[in-house]
């Protein structure tokens, strides 16, 4: 069981690296949906001994929302905007991957420092790496869609971290988080549509024209 979790964590980190290095937006959305599905399966695997219908409901909900609904909304967003590729980002792709490796190293170091029970597995470093990757994408990419993806990835990281530190996730907390993200993505989708309609592009760097 431990090895299965380890393999899932390795896949999570690999998907983070891929998100940092790829420029095609459609592929990035597919990878984020894969991450969502992976985390849904992870929730089930962590509690394999005590599966309750409630647990299956939560896992299925996050599986469907993160694996299908978010990507559908985002794909519709880019189809409206007609954007295919990331425009020239602030940090180049090779530097992003190297930064990702640095973040991986820092996550390992932090993971060893934090007093948590799962400290000797890959869970905490993978969760922190995903969190940092999300933050990095928000800061370093110009396309508004990539920033939205960064927000979702951050939530994935927080979710993984939550799975580790809390033995059982209270239904209300988890649904609260999920609703929060759902609304955020919904709003961002609308915002992306409107940004594109108004300015004819999705380059959030040029939003500074609005400065007074």
């Amino acid at each position: 069981m431990n090895s299965a979790i380890e393999i899932m964590m390795i896949l999570l980190v690999l998907s983070d690296m891929a998100l940092l290095g790829l420029s095609r937006l459609r592929t990035c959305i597919s990878i984020v949906s894969f991450q969502g599905m992976l985390l849904g399966v992870l929730a089930l695997t962590m509690q394999l001994s005590a599966i309750t219908p409630r647990l299956i409901l939560i896992a299925a909900a996050s599986f469907i929302i993160k694996g299908f609904i978010f990507p559908f909304l985002l794909r519709r967003g880019i189809r409206e905007a007609g954007a295919q590729y990331e425009i020239e980002p602030f940090v180049g792709y090779i530097m992003s991957v190297i930064a990702g490796l640095a973040m991986l190293g820092i996550s390992f170091w932090l993971g060893a420092k934090l007093p948590l029970f799962a400290a000797n597995t890959l869970l905490i470093p993978a969760a922190l790496t995903t969190l940092f990757t999300g933050l990095f994408l928000i800061i370093a990419r110009k396309n508004a869609l990539n920033q939205c993806l960064g927000y979702i990835i951050m939530e994935n990281g927080i979710y993984t971290f939550g799975i580790v530190s809390v033995a059982e996730i209270p239904l209300l907390v988890e649904l609260g988080i999920l609703l929060d993200v759902f609304v955020a993505v919904f709003v961002m989708g609308i915002a992306i549509y409107h940004i594109n309609r108004e300015f004819d592009h999705l380059d959030s760097d040029r939003l500074n024209i609005l400065k007074g």
Partner: protein
């Protein structure tokens, strides 16, 4: 067993051009053609050995030395790599460094021979080649360092048989080394061995001016390079056993090498060559996979 090592070397010398044939047959199968005969590479080499040679007036002794040094280098690499659990004749702690650097010596002199002709095409290929190989070296060495840490050995003959079967670190290192394999042997997605447009060639264009026995040495050397680098990958993936059943693991390793050639053929048939800007990104990705594997081994 020294006899076994010598038999391994002879098998390598004999069977290496067959890898080229397998790759071409796989590509032909995917394209719906019959393709070249399986032993075409042997016939090509023999044909070139029988010809005379034409040298350009611009060239000097370096041009004549390039193919010779290249072939000698890859023969030394052949003497270092183990096959099927049998130790190589020239095995010692740290031989993976000779392995990496003697291939570097081969590349150095191939590039110099290319520049010796004074042709812009060859200079173009040479300049790309030096960048890609500079980026591929760290990926190779970090991957080997991860294997070294896992097996607590520094010699290829001790490292490769002792690798644990298909643990996540080994999978990552295998993928990274596969990317390096494709780069070093100038296969798609790094270079198209079938293109004859000078602007798109990398490896082919560097050997454009060689003819006769020189060209035969170069063809044979590239086949041996496919064999030698492939053995490192197969050594990591397939468990090997020494002892009284060494012959079986040798046969299975060679079978694995043919399977690797089929995989290369499949990759060549299904992918297109990457834009030149993307190739460094792919090599850095290979390096980061190796580094990630090393971090995983560290725990």
């Amino acid at each position: 067993m020294p006899i076994a090592s010598i038999i391994n070397i002879c098998l390598g010398l004999l069977l290496a051009p067959l890898l080229l044939g397998i790759i071409n047959k796989t590509k032909a199968f995917f394209a719906g053609r019959t393709g070249q005969p399986l032993f075409q590479a042997y016939l090509d080499i023999i044909k070139q050995l029988r010809k005379g040679v034409v040298y350009s007036q611009t060239t000097s002794l370096i041009f004549r030395a390039g193919p010779v040094i290249g072939l000698a280098s890859v023969l030394i690499a052949l003497a270092i790599v183990p096959l099927g659990g049998v130790a190589a004749p020239l095995a010692f702690s740290g031989d993976l460094l000779i392995f990496a650097y003697i291939l570097g010596l081969m590349r150095f002199f191939t590039v110099l021979a290319a520049l010796d002709t004074g042709s812009s095409f060859e200079g173009m290929g040479a300049s790309r080649e030096v960048l890609f190989s500079a980026l591929a070296e760290p990926a190779l060495l970090i991957g080997l360092a991860a294997i070294a840490r896992e097996t607590h050995a520094m010699s290829l003959s001790q490292m490769l048989p002792a690798v644990s079967f298909l643990s996540p670190e080994v999978v990552l290192v295998t993928v990274a080394l596969l990317i390096v394999y494709l780069c070093e042997n100038a296969r798609i997605p790094f270079d198209d061995p079938n293109t004859h447009l000078e602007l798109t060639m990398i490896h082919e264009v560097m050997v454009l001016d060689h003819s006769g026995p020189d060209f035969a040495f170069i063809l044979y050397g590239s086949a041996l390079k496919l064999w030698v680098l492939g053995l490192v990958i197969i050594g990591i993936v397939f468990p090997a056993s020494s002892g009284s059943f060494w012959f079986i693991s040798v046969i299975s390793a060679i079978g694995g090498l043919f399977f690797l050639a089929v995989i290369v053929g499949i990759i060549e048939s299904t992918m297109a060559r990457l834009r030149l800007i993307r190739i460094p990104q792919l090599l850095v990705a290979a390096g980061s996979l190796s580094l990630f594997a090393f971090i995983l081994v560290l725990r």
